[in-house]
Every structure is written in structure tokens, then in C-alpha cells.
Amino acid sequence: MTAYVMCFILFLVGLYGAITRRNLVKIAVSLSIMEISTFLFFALIGYIEGGVAPIVDPSDPAKIYVDPLPQALVLTAIVIGLATTAMLMAVIIRLYRKYGTFDIREIKNLRG
């Protein structure tokens, strides 16, 4: 249970960072922290007490395996996360070239 609580705290740390930081790159890092906490949560829900890696061993039918599905989901989600982070970083670089700053308070053309 402790692991789940820690994982949720990590998610909140990321959310806090994304809301309060002023630096564009730090916001992107906070988003990555949220992302990692979600992946960790997926890894945790697939774990079964005393389970081993899910490679079927015909000689020992009583063996307990961990759930392989969340691991497959995490792999897919990591690839998606890579794409979103790359996209975000590309936009941050273009913003830096336009405004010459990473401070989000300086970037406020759009209002109302």
C-alpha cells in the first residue's frame, strides 16, 4: 500500500510543478514526472506477491506469474510519452527563438 501512496504523491508533485513553475523547461519536466508516476502505477497494479516474470514454465504448473498486460500497456504509453515530450520540447525551442526567454510570464500575447 505504501508504494501506491508514494506513487500518488509523485503524481501530485508533478501536478504541483506543472501549475506553479514559471520556466517552460521545468513545466515540461514536471509533466514528465506525472507521466512516470502513472507508469509506476501501472507496473504496481500488475505485480502479484511472490510472482515471477511471465514466461510460462511447463515443468512447474503451480508457479505464480505477475500480470503481463500492464507491462505491455506501459511500453505503449512510454512510446506515446516520448512523442508528446519531443513535440513539447520542439515548441519550447521555437518559443525561445521567438521571445528569447524561458519565462512564461513574458509570453502572454493571447488573453481575453
Partner: protein, 512 residues
Amino acid sequence: MNPLIPLLVVIPLAAAFLIMIIGRFIEEFNKYFASLVLLVLTCISFYFLFTTGEKISVYKVGGWEPINTIPIGIYMVMDGFSVIVVCIINLIGFLSVFYSISYINRYTAGNYFYSLFCLLIGGMNGVVLSGDLFNIFVFLEISVISSYALVAFGVESNELEASFKYQILGGIASFLILFGIGFIYWRAKTLNIADIKAAFGTGSDKTTYLFIQILILSGFGLKAAIIPFHAWLPDAHSSAPSPISAMLSGVFIKAVGIYVIIRLFFNMFVISEAMAVLITTLGTLSMVIGVFLAIGQWDIKRLLAYHSISQMGYVVMSVGIGMILLSRGAKPEIASLAIAGGLFHLVNHAAFKGLLFLNAGAIEYTLATRNMKEMGGLAKSMPVTSATSFIASMSISGIPPFNGFFSKLIIIIAAVLGKFYLLAVLAVIVSIITLASFLKFQRYAFYNKSDNNRNQAIKEVPFPMVFSMVVLSIICVLLSLLVFPEIRDAILAPAIDILTDPVKYSTSILVK
């Protein structure tokens, strides 16, 4: 097994890659190929609209059959509700892509534009057709990432800023959704929507269940820009190229936001009164606050974007009224009337909001400004744009005999019959304010005398843009035919049937 279902996802994804490869060698290939692909997709989706009806067809990816009635493959489901949304996605998609044949001349890098556009369409079709929760997330991310890129397509400072905001809020929404999916898998040990319904139906602990519902509602609510989550929408939708604004506002927020919320809350969760009241409240707030934010805008695309929030509020509110009535178990016919009004307004909004954004794009194309104060007197020089935007403005403000009138009428009648008098009054007031704000748009853009002479030299936009606008305005008028009971029964009734019946969706998928 219907082998045509996956084509709706496979064709646009393949087209995206072909455009990038072949477009390098053949000039102008991208424009005509993308239009052809979207035309084919529109034909396929209308074929489904006429053949689906009451039945639910399932395609199992990879041919994995269920073992002991436990589904193990990825399911794609085509039923009465998803077929309507698929039709509007591909139809508005075709008209926008045809429109951009001339509009794209404002930009360079046409190959990237059309490739991202095809990915956007493929992702949205995937979200709507998927019967599996994690696949909804994957397709959602495909379409959302391409929309991030398309919003930033102009790479000027405003576009980049809008795209950055959109990406941060979109990223938070994606992780909330992923967290919710994790919780659901933890509790139900399955990801198939029909199977989750069966697993949750047999009593589960209330606290986790409520937490999951809140996570899913806030995640998809952020994608749909319901009011407390709306901050990104006006920036993103007004900064994108106009055909993309038409796609994002007309279709995208419905396909990845409203559609998924309606589908999951009706067909996956057991409808509870608390959640139904929450959804209705959010919808009413969007409806009222969205229109007040829109009044003061002078940028046409920002004005239209705020009206999208308000009009989506109508859809969410009326579906919420249906949910409240269903959860009380009383008056099922009024509940189906409210849901019918919501779905009807969803289809109508796709038509007139798509048309309005294409009109705004046409004005921007000729005048190179989006500020209403700098326009005026365009009715003579741009007659088609003026006439079509008049039809669209009257539709969105609910003037008979255009389509918006009938859907708002159904929503208001359902609210009165269900004894939600306050909501009915608010819906009428919001409709009047919408009319005021669109009369301002008409007057300043098309009729007000302009004091500068350059407006005399303006000509009507090229043929592809005119064609798309005229077709959409004809659709705006034709959609009001859906109010007749015979046509409504053929198209809207199967969707309402699948939403109001609590077990039909899950049982008919699980036995196949």
C-alpha cells in the same frame, strides 16, 4: 466480423505515410490525394450509416476469439451512436481538406499539413470505433499530438504560445485519463468496455468507483473544454489554420471529448444521480459562461471558439438531463427526448460551426485580418461567403427554419417536460445572447459601411473554398429534416436506443 470497419482507421494512417513519401517527388500530389482519401472515407461512413441501423457489428483485431466468453482481443465496434459521429468526422474532414486546396497557399510545407491532417482523422475514427479503453487512449494520443502540431503550424509567436498552453493542459488530461484507466484495470481486470460493464455491474466499492468517474470526467472534460477546463480552447482554436479550426471546433472536441464521456458514462458505468447532476451542472455552466465570454470578442475566430464552448454546453446539459431522468428511473420517454436533442445538436453544431470557421478563413484569406473592426462592406464583394455565413449564423442562433432551431427546441421541450424550468429559461436566454453576438458579426463583417477603399478591390475566394462553404450551408438546411419522426427514427433512434438501454451494448458485444 465486418471487414470494412478497420478500413476507416487504416486508410488515413496509410495515406499519412504515402503523402510524406510520394509528395516529395510529385508536386501537388498531397492536395488531391488527401481529398480523394477523405472522399472514400466519407463514402464508407455513409454506407455504414445506411446499413447499420439497430445492429451492432464487431471486428476483432487479429481474429482473437473470446475464450470462455472472456474477450481477449482488441474490439472495434460500430453501432448506432458511433456511426453518426464517424459520419460527421469524415464529412467535415473531406470538406475542410477540399477547402484547404487553395487555403494552404498561405503556408509552406503542404506535405506536413496533409500528413498531419490524415493522422488527425485516423486518430479520431479510432477513438470513436474502439471498444477497448486503452485503445481509446492510444488513438486519442495520435489525434491529439497531430492537433498540437497543427495548432502550431504557422510557427509565429501566437501559434506557438497557443500550442504550448494546449500541450500542457492536454498532457495533464492524458495522464488523468491514463490514471483512470489504470484504476479501472486494477478493479475490473479487463479493458474491454462491455466486459468492464459486466465486471462493475456486480457490486464494487463505491469510493473507488466515484474516484474513477471523477478522473475520467475531468480527463475527457479537459479534452472537450467543458467550462472549468476551457482555458486552452479559445487560444488553440483561433490560432490554428482555418480548415483545422473547423476540424477542431466542429469535430475534434466532440469525437475525443463529448463522445467518449457519453459512451463511457452511459455504456460502461452504472448511471448514478450524483454524477448525472454534476454533468448537467458543468454543461449549464459552459452554456452560460461561454456565451458571456464570447460577447466582448472582436477577433472573429476567438468569438467562434467561445461559442463552441457555449454550444457544447447545450449538448452536455441535455444529455445530463437524460442521465438524471434515467437514474431516477422515471419517464424514460422524456429521457430519450433529451438525449435525442443533445445528439441532434451535436450533429448540427458540427455543420454550422465548421461552416462559420470556413467563412472566417475566407475573410482572413482575402483581408489578412481577423479583427472585425477592420472589415465591413464585404456583402457585395464576397456574396457567397456572406450568404453562407448568414445561414450559419442563423442556424447557431436558433432561427427557424434552420437546423439549430429544431435541436434547441427539442432540448428546451425536454427540459420543460422533465421539470427543469430554470435550465429551460437559461437555454432560451443563452440563445438570444448568441443571436445578438452573431448579428454583431454579420453587421461588422458584411454590412457596415467601410471607410477604406481597399474593400472595393476584393474578389470572392477561389472555387474549392466556395464549394466547401456552399455544401456545408446546404447541409445546415437539410439537417433540419431530422426533426421529422420518420427520418429521426432511422438515424437518431438506434443511437438513443443503445444509450438508454443499460445492458444492450455490453450483452450484444459479449455474446459475439
